[in-house]
């Protein structure tokens, strides 16, 4: 096996945007339905956990529990939006609908197609974050204007999870098997990335692991800082980690898909 094959610089053109546009058009057909989850979900979580469970919880690191988990809800939604779009969604388009196959008969390369999928996945994350901000702001749980930076950041974070999703879609033998990486990676991340309790209560090795290997940890740190209205230099470290992992995973996703589909 040639490892270099997985990190080849992809042959991408502006035409990748046509694939993004295709997915956007499909999304807009059911726009009202698609807008509902990011609108309802944070309210449910805030009522159940922030205000229900939160009654029994003292302040965490000096803030109320609802204020503590509000940014985590955004981070989790950013993760889910692009990961599901580019794992289940892309797999359906690739395998059942043969959409990728039909597109590569045109001047687009498979690299264009996968790049378009990545960009669209990231866009979905950004859309979710954008809808959630005003909902959570209604409860007075986030500070402005810093929180507005969450919107562009959600695109970068979305790209990371979109790439992860596409890597999964490229190796999964069937649609049911996508459940395994969700169970073994996405769910633990949902729970152990400093989302619903601070990272520092975990044993030190696990803290280091979370920082080294779980992208959601960095996303939660950055979004939480922004909702608290804090811009610290240390965020640059999280940002750099995200950019690096995003680049690696995106190139990997494109090449893995190419290897799967171009035989």
């Amino acid at each position: 096996m040639n490892i270099g094959l997985y990190f080849k610089v992809p042959n991408i053109s502006f035409r990748a945007l046509r694939v993004w546009q295709r997915n956007k058009d499909v999304f807009m057909k059911n726009v009202k339905l698609n807008f509902l989850p990011p609108f309802i979900e944070p309210m449910l979580y805030l009522f159940a956990m922030g205000f229900g469970l939160g009654m029994f919880i003292e302040d965490i690191d000096g803030v109320s529990y609802a204020r503590f988990i509000a940014p985590a809800l955004i981070a989790v939604s950013v993760m889910y939006a692009s990961f599901f779009e580019c794992s289940y969604g892309s797999y359906v388009r690739m395998h059942y609908q043969k959409t990728f196959e039909s597109i590569i008969a045109t001047p687009l390369t498979i690299e264009d197609v996968i790049t378009g999928e990545l960009l669209w996945g990231a866009t979905r994350s950004m859309i979710n974050a954008t809808i959630m901000l005003p909902v959570i702001a209604l409860f007075g749980l986030i500070d402005f204007p810093h929180s507005l930076l969450i919107i562009p950041f959600a695109f970068l974070a979305g790209l990371v999870f979109a790439a992860l999703g596409l890597c999964v879609a490229s190796v999964t033998p069937n649609i049911m098997s996508i459940n395994y990486p969700i169970l073994l990676f996405i769910m633990p991340m949902f729970l152990f990335s400093g989302t619903f309790f601070p990272l520092h209560v975990l044993p030190l090795p696990i803290q280091y692991f979370a920082l080294a290997a779980l992208p959601l940890t960095h996303v939660v740190i950055v979004i939480r800082s922004l909702t608290f209205g804090i811009l610290d230099v240390s965020l640059l470290f999280n940002l750099a980690w995200m950019v690096a992992v995003c680049l690696i995973l995106s190139v990997l996703a494109v090449n893995m898909m190419k290897k799967k589909l171009i035989v």
Partner: protein, 297 residues
């Protein structure tokens, strides 16, 4: 266009050194049993599957380095329908036009024109999964024509269609050929190949067995006519004595000839035969003769 083209999947050699040239403006057919390597060959020409070795040029450009340029001038009708189920008939064509960077105003005009051409104007706002098999196939043809291709590649364009839909497809293809479009197709329907193709090749096990015009192939490999009679040992002995070219299929014997009248008379007098039928040779006879009668998976 192609020389000594080869394609391997691991150990398996799907296309084993084929060479062919397709002329501008002709209709060219690939025939062969399932698994002969037709689709694989087509996909290499379509630049969606890289060749293992050999030389492949399309429009004078190398297929492995100029895929975008080649695909811009090509239209593809795949074997399996892959219309976009998330869109209506009209949107399918419009979304596809964007992949070719056709400006929207031109594209809308072109889409209307194509829907009319494939007689689907009434269905333009229907979702594609509710279309009948024939309609889906016609829509795919329209989609392949959105960029006004110089070369149209069709992989079994009429598979699963009823006779009406099939004839309609043939008419459309003949019309396109008149407009100067080069057409390449694969098919299992030998009547279709005989009717449509200027030239064709018969492939099996990844190799090209014969190449030529349908008439030429028939004459070269079998003769103009076939005389059929019942198979029994006496007949066989008699035929052997005459050194006739024949084949035994089940309980009938087929004798290949260019002079059916002569053979028939001869058989009747020399071999004591009673039931004899003579008919013209079809491409199907050549096909079965070349590729054998064994069932393919």
């Amino acid at each position: 266009m192609a020389e000594d083209l080869q394609k391997c999947f691991g150990e398996f050699v799907a296309v084993n050194g084929v060479s062919f040239t397709i002329e501008d403006g002709e209709m060219f057919g690939f025939l062969g049993p399932n698994g002969a390597g037709k689709t694989t060959t087509l996909r290499m020409v379509q630049c969606t599957s890289p060749k293992t070795s050999g030389m492949l040029e399309v429009f004078g450009m190398d297929a492995s380095t100029h895929q975008r340029e080649i695909k811009t001038k090509m239209g593809v009708v795949p074997q399996e329908n892959n219309l976009d189920p998330d869109f209506t008939v009209y949107e399918n064509l419009l979304v596809f036009s964007r992949y070719f960077d056709i400006p929207e105003a031109d594209a809308r005009e072109r889409v209307d024109e194509l829907l009319d051409f494939v007689q689907l104007t009434e269905k333009k706002d229907t979702m594609t999964d509710t279309l009948s098999g024939g309609m889906k196939r016609r829509l795919i043809l329209a989609r392949a024509l959105i960029n006004r291709p110089r070369l149209l590649m069709l992989d079994e364009p009429t598979v699963g269609l009823d006779p009406q839909a099939r004839h309609l497809m043939w008419d459309k293809l003949k019309g396109l050929k008149k407009e100067g479009v080069t057409i390449v197709l694969t098919t299992h329907y030998l009547e279709e190949a005989a009717q449509l193709c200027d030239r064709l090749v018969v492939m099996d096990h990844g190799r090209i067995l014969v190449e030529g015009s349908p008439d030429q192939i028939i004459r070269e490999y079998i003769g103009t006519d076939i005389v059929e009679t019942k198979s029994d040992p006496k007949t066989i002995v008699c035929l052997d004595r005459q050194q006739a070219r024949y084949e035994i299929i089940g309980d009938t014997v087929q004798i290949y000839t260019n002079e059916p009248q002569h053979i028939t008379d001869h058989l009747l007098t020399e071999c004591d035969l009673t039931t004899i039928t003579a008919r013209a040779v079809t491409l199907e006879d050549v096909f079965l003769n070349l590729t054998g009668r064994k069932l393919r998976e």
